[in-house]
Subunit: 620 residues, 2 copies
Amino acid sequence: MSNYPILEQINTPEDIKSLDAAQTEALCAELRKKIIETVAHNGGHLSSNLGVVELTVALHKLFHSPEDEIIFDVGHQCYAHKLLTGRFEQFGTLRTKGGISGFTNPEESEHDIFYSGHSSTSISAACGLARAKKLKGEKGFVVAVIGDGSLTGGEAYEGLNNAYEDADNLIVIINDNKMSISQNKSSLATSLAKIRSTKRYFRSKQRFRAILKHVPIIGIPIRNRIVKAKYALKGALYHSSFFEDLGYVYLGPVDGHNLTRLNDILEIATLRGEPCVVHVETIKGKGYAPAENDPEHFHGVGPFDITTGQSIKPSGESFSKAFSDTICSFAQKDKRICAVTAAMPTGTGLEHFAEQFENRYFDVGIAEQHAVTFCSGLAKNGIIPIFAVYSTFLQRAYDQLIDDISLQKLKVIFAIDRAGFVGSDGQTHQGLFDIPMLAGIPDINIFAPASFEELSNMMYRSVYKEAFSSAIRYPRGGECVLPEGYQPDGKDYSVFESEQKTDKLIITFGRTFGFAYEAQQRLSEAGIPVNILKLNKIKPIHAEAVRYALGYDAIWFYEESMKIGGIGEHFHILLANEGYKGSYALSAVEDTFVKPAEVSEQFKEFGLDTESIVKDISNG
Amino acid sequence: MSNYPILEQINTPEDIKSLDAAQTEALCAELRKKIIETVAHNGGHLSSNLGVVELTVALHKLFHSPEDEIIFDVGHQCYAHKLLTGRFEQFGTLRTKGGISGFTNPEESEHDIFYSGHSSTSISAACGLARAKKLKGEKGFVVAVIGDGSLTGGEAYEGLNNAYEDADNLIVIINDNKMSISQNKSSLATSLAKIRSTKRYFRSKQRFRAILKHVPIIGIPIRNRIVKAKYALKGALYHSSFFEDLGYVYLGPVDGHNLTRLNDILEIATLRGEPCVVHVETIKGKGYAPAENDPEHFHGVGPFDITTGQSIKPSGESFSKAFSDTICSFAQKDKRICAVTAAMPTGTGLEHFAEQFENRYFDVGIAEQHAVTFCSGLAKNGIIPIFAVYSTFLQRAYDQLIDDISLQKLKVIFAIDRAGFVGSDGQTHQGLFDIPMLAGIPDINIFAPASFEELSNMMYRSVYKEAFSSAIRYPRGGECVLPEGYQPDGKDYSVFESEQKTDKLIITFGRTFGFAYEAQQRLSEAGIPVNILKLNKIKPIHAEAVRYALGYDAIWFYEESMKIGGIGEHFHILLANEGYKGSYALSAVEDTFVKPAEVSEQFKEFGLDTESIVKDISNG
């Protein structure tokens, strides 16, 4: 008999509406089973998806998608949604080439309203969708499902702040799972916590009393304030006035794993005729013990053994690990070193730093804008901040990089992880924009290590030798193939020449060097000598690197980045300024978004792998 | 006798401390006089600066700058601060070449902690400064002065959300001037308004009652909630729990023009030993009737007559006006057209649209991130949103442009005003990054009109002919010099050939074409024929435009933009792909921030004016 007797019958969300209570409960169990099995095999986001199973079922039982539009903030809570909207059969292809995306994707289904991969955008999008319905006189609700972690991102607040009075078709569901990607220390978490505990109330009452003693002159006004505050705080125990202050009807909190309660509160929200915030409490990893016990590990995870929860292939050495070791050793010797993360301590490898140097470690929540300006403030007063961030998420802080870092001429270090192709996460997570983003900004150095040792050396150079800010961009995972006994020379560029003389030159940087090097070997065996110019500091480009390239008639530039605004285009102008008249072929990612696939497949797709390089140069 | 007997004596903030009450009042009057006189002559920000005179004096009377660090969010409220920190003598050079900057500038004074020109960053910076003091065991407070308008920007909230428990050296002063740059409709304004009125409380109480009738099943829980809510709302009349929820001691509101009250409340803030929010109420334009009556007009203003308040030279025709006429005529015929602004209705010329099409007009506050995602939501449901925004402020939404616009393949129109050099506003406001920012993003067209008619045509093409999103970037002010009877040809590129044959080609776009055209005339008189390729659609570049350029041996590209990541570098690669072997000289702004000066001076400085072009090509 089938493992999924009910789930198999759900071809559209409408099929859920006919299920009775027992069948709906059983459906939730099947969804969990399918999600765990699939993620255990393909890898993916587990904790967040297990947490919203009942919520997703309740939403599709009450609302009519796609007339009612349901948006999931950061698509990584959308697996149950995908399984309930006609994608059960293909779900096994999750995050594989040509398969189901790990995030919502409008090309997959009319029930996926938006591509959503980055945090805190759902309320703004929902405001737009809801407003458009009003303007066109169309029916239907717009529901934004947003985790408390995403609420730490400024845009969520900008969105909350812009639901106009008559947005009675807008419902914001706060999935309060008591843990964003990392335990986030920021005060909004506290504010939500107040709903669950009265501690803060008593603590602050004592604090107020204590202070009163010391400030007699204003004793009376302040005491009055406390009398009021008492009610405010008591009120806050019952519901956070935070959302009411922003003009929403606040409903909740409700147990996010109780289908009846969920259904009741969602029904109320549809009846209120005002923009509503529904506060739902869920447990990350719900229903799978290993994930409940360590939700952060299972937030985004590779293939694992279901019975033990153990990863099938241990992660092994990675640039993130090399970064972690480096920053810890620096911090050991230098008290000025601080580390900042936007809710990514594990992904960036900062968890060890956090344990060893708690008072110099700052997890600011999913708030990259704040992180960058905060670093600027730290640097202004003599601290050396290192912001470890994924390439794709740094995009959130472009304006701050220009005005608060570059213009201020302060020294902040950006450890840019997941730079380049990232594999299965796909379109919204590729690290291909950081070069076009950073290269145009004055006075920010950009380094591109190909080995762990280079990463460490470039960190040292950025912290202690460079005048201004630096970005060190390194890929997800480990080192590329390197020449035997490869030793970084600490220069801005390195040269790898073949024994025979040649007029052909490959220019590249970062891990792409590994493929260029393999290609060089293969070509030399084939009697086609080619030299390699490996750029270590890719912005600014050293004048000698340009002069070296001038000695060649044919240049191939390979760049794991977007082409327009990348280093390849810039290097070409530098050559033109010196009167270069030879040929110049640039391979990079041009004007497209890279779909999920293995990283190796992505290198191949864009002509950056060994094969492609060999072919280019054989034909050239 | 001197006009400024007291102000003249203030060489450092310490000099204020010895003044008695009467002298301090008199000082405020002198500051106002000096600010009004200077702005009337040089132009600048008036309303906001007049509003914070007493606040600035009170701050410098109590705190010890620079040991205590005072940051002004959006530097345009810093004039009084500059006059009190040793810049009275030079103040007449405000916003002129080599003169005093209109924003805080660390190169000018140790009392200017940061360059600040963009909104909502002060709290994040203050968190960093305050944290650094803690880590280094240094004394002193960090005070962030932020207007209620800036509180509508998400980063302000990220900052508020990240003041850690022991930040007892952090004071956030909210300058609640009841009007941000524009009257902003968002709910935070409402939330602050609650402090001043009980209306909302009664309104919502009736609303709750009404609803109770219709939702009997949950009558009891909701009624309970109201009982609590009552206190919460009453509490809110006394102090907004919004800030308390975020973990601050909330003090205020206080009359921001009453020096005694200000001093008292600031003193309390220094004694609390906790992070404080001090709520100060001020009047924009205070002390100058024309500005008090029309604070938005006097927010940023050109030279004017002090007695009448009338502008000395009327603004005349501008691209902003042309945009305004165009969007209104479109909206007249097409109900799908909506306009969005991030608190810049006047600057972008949307105020007329706002009057005529109120329900299709959205001022979202200083929230560019929300604006872009909101537009995406509108577009998804069939609306055609036009986001009018200054080039420099669009930087705030880089990530949203990638993930919420480009990736979604929706049609949103970006009317990018103040693109290129902006003159006196200087470093933080130049519109030089929008091309590097947008060019690397897939599927966003970029148009660069040189005339009003071109702007209108390009808008039409973007709205009705293009498949995806488009950006139309146009400069501050009016048209450049154009050929007599200049008629846009509606093509992606236009050609202006001299009578004699030539192997020389100028490539340019936007208003720089005016200088190129003048140069062409001058050169032809000098017997040096040169042709011009004017790009109208600068992304993507039409293949025929590249083929046309291939016919020349010497190419000069003039670009009013940052060089790295600009169109000039990209065009060069397109030429290389076709085997171009001629010379290629690219003039643009390279790796620097452009200081305040006349726009014409800025063109000259970067070799983009007629003179420079003539010289380049004569020598070439």
